[in-house]
Subunit: 397 residues, 2 copies
Amino acid sequence: MTDFAQTRALFHLPEGMVYLDGNSLGPLPKAAVERVARTVRDEWGDMLITGWNKAGWMDKPMNVGNRIARLIGAEKDSVAMGDTLSIKVYQALASALEMNRPRKVVLSDSGNFPSDLYMAQGLCKTLGEGYELRVVAPEEVLDAIDDTVAVTMITEVDYRTGRKHDMAAITARAHAKGALTIWDLAHSAGALPVELAKAGADFACGCSYKYLNSGPGGPAFIYVAPRHQERARPALSGWQGHDAPFAFDLDYRPARGAERMRVGTPPILQLAALEASLDIWDQVDMAALRTRSLQLTDLFITGVEATCPSLTLATPRDHALRGSQVSFRHPEGYAIMQALISKGVIGDFRAPDIIRFGFTPLYTSDADVTKAVDILAEIMANSLWDIPEFKTRKKVT
Amino acid sequence: MTDFAQTRALFHLPEGMVYLDGNSLGPLPKAAVERVARTVRDEWGDMLITGWNKAGWMDKPMNVGNRIARLIGAEKDSVAMGDTLSIKVYQALASALEMNRPRKVVLSDSGNFPSDLYMAQGLCKTLGEGYELRVVAPEEVLDAIDDTVAVTMITEVDYRTGRKHDMAAITARAHAKGALTIWDLAHSAGALPVELAKAGADFACGCSYKYLNSGPGGPAFIYVAPRHQERARPALSGWQGHDAPFAFDLDYRPARGAERMRVGTPPILQLAALEASLDIWDQVDMAALRTRSLQLTDLFITGVEATCPSLTLATPRDHALRGSQVSFRHPEGYAIMQALISKGVIGDFRAPDIIRFGFTPLYTSDADVTKAVDILAEIMANSLWDIPEFKTRKKVT
């Protein structure tokens, strides 16, 4: 059984701040400070080029991938790290579309993170005639899977509302209709137990800087189901995904397995930070994490609904449909979030009217939740968000 | 005038090591230790999500690009950082091919780094019917540019031999024949003065972990000539290249200028290391760097040729055709390099028979060159490379 008071102590949480934005950028694992410093000083500094072998840099994308595999229910050696989530979405999409010719439709929903849609739009344009991204409402996804669909590209947990799709049901329906599936786990990996293999998912990808706490710009991951690994042609056929990168052949020949989805030189400093975080994750029981996550989100929903009647819950009440965040709608959402931030409660605003709060059992306490509810209630009761300084429009992330 | 004894003091160079592999992985700028630590501790740790604005993370890809622009003769705001070199090659290639329809031929040479060729092969396969990567010998490039060529994809300095192409001549010829140009500056950026704007280059890309000393897996850069920036469609259309990334529109609309070539979340820790290195580069006069580089490579060539008759020079003697490295051929090149490394002289082996040495004025001294020559001469005179421990085949980078 995971002791979440103990894991909380392993993170640096600034004094006086209630951080409910770990679904945007996870906080610093204390051990990452020394881990990154050691990589800079003792590995890069002292080993120089020999670090690729001596410090195991070359193998990190697959070794780290194997540690993430447990968190997302993936088979050994089926997860490769690198690049960014958008790039990994592109790779999965390009492979899947080619595997499922002559179909040409990518099905997604309007709750997907826009970058996934953009990458699909870009790829469809590159592929040309007939390729199409079809976007439906989240609740229409299941019915929209027909036998014209080549691949479904769905983010399991909605980045705005926290609504969770039924991965097993959508995957089963897709397969019944002859479609392949790509699951974006940006708001799932480290947020709740994911069972890729059990659900029969074909491809998946996700980022590591949210619930997995790897720091700003940490590398992404891609999952390729073992049954597809030898057929999936990497559209981004870089040398690190070559079967023999150091033979310097003039012709590309993909590596065996998911390693073929590596592209260029891996970001060793970012990977070091991620490894420090995974030292914590290695100890976490995912079922216990889910139980705790639902306690936290329930507590917040109950508290806010009891004190802030003008906020409308955007997150499903049904546990089966909820990720690890809670969102409310309000026309002045942007200003409300600015007021919250000024009082030390860090959440996120997502256009047009969503304020969202991430609940991350590794370091969110009941006291955090209570304090956040109290401050939000005070802001709403006194219309603090209605004063000019909180209305200034700024770029938010 | 740059004082290269002074810049040398700014790098961490392990005691007793002669490091001639800065063309593979540059050494650690001493200031990078604290710079990265500060980014981890004070920015990620204390600012958390607000670092995207407060610490300027969001703008780093273009701000850092502008500092590299001076080193490669690029216009302001025409260089974007991110991803890896292979990804940036793909982006340039996809845009250029689309801009130059209906032509379908990518011209490159067999001296190009294989990953560039692989990425082109992958893209041609994705684009389908008629798309072709045509690979000629390096010396045939100029004549091979005919009016079927859509784009030339040439690495200016050969990663094995150090032979330098004539960027201005090839670009002029390409334009005369209606082709666009992509220049890979992996072994040029920070190695010698590059004049992209003056040469009329269309696209360029490069990595930062070689001569630019950003550390293992540091981000790549892409250059788009200002005249193409509004027409170049990003094939990898990620949200960070969107005109309004935080509007979360469902449709992609490219940002103005080269910023559209950004894809996903930038790697902030790796960028911090690069910035520490650029603090040194900001002070370097590129003409002085070139003069010094040629002194160093001349000194090494003269020394080795006087003492090691069985080694065959693979690098051009003509200064105009030489980058900032020197390579020799020998059938036992791999074992010779192993012997050198065991004696503290770090160079690189490149299949099938090349030993290569990078000369990097920022920290390579005359004493380094002399010592390397002496040790190489001793190894060759005594056939030290002929003993079994140096013949063991291992993965080298």
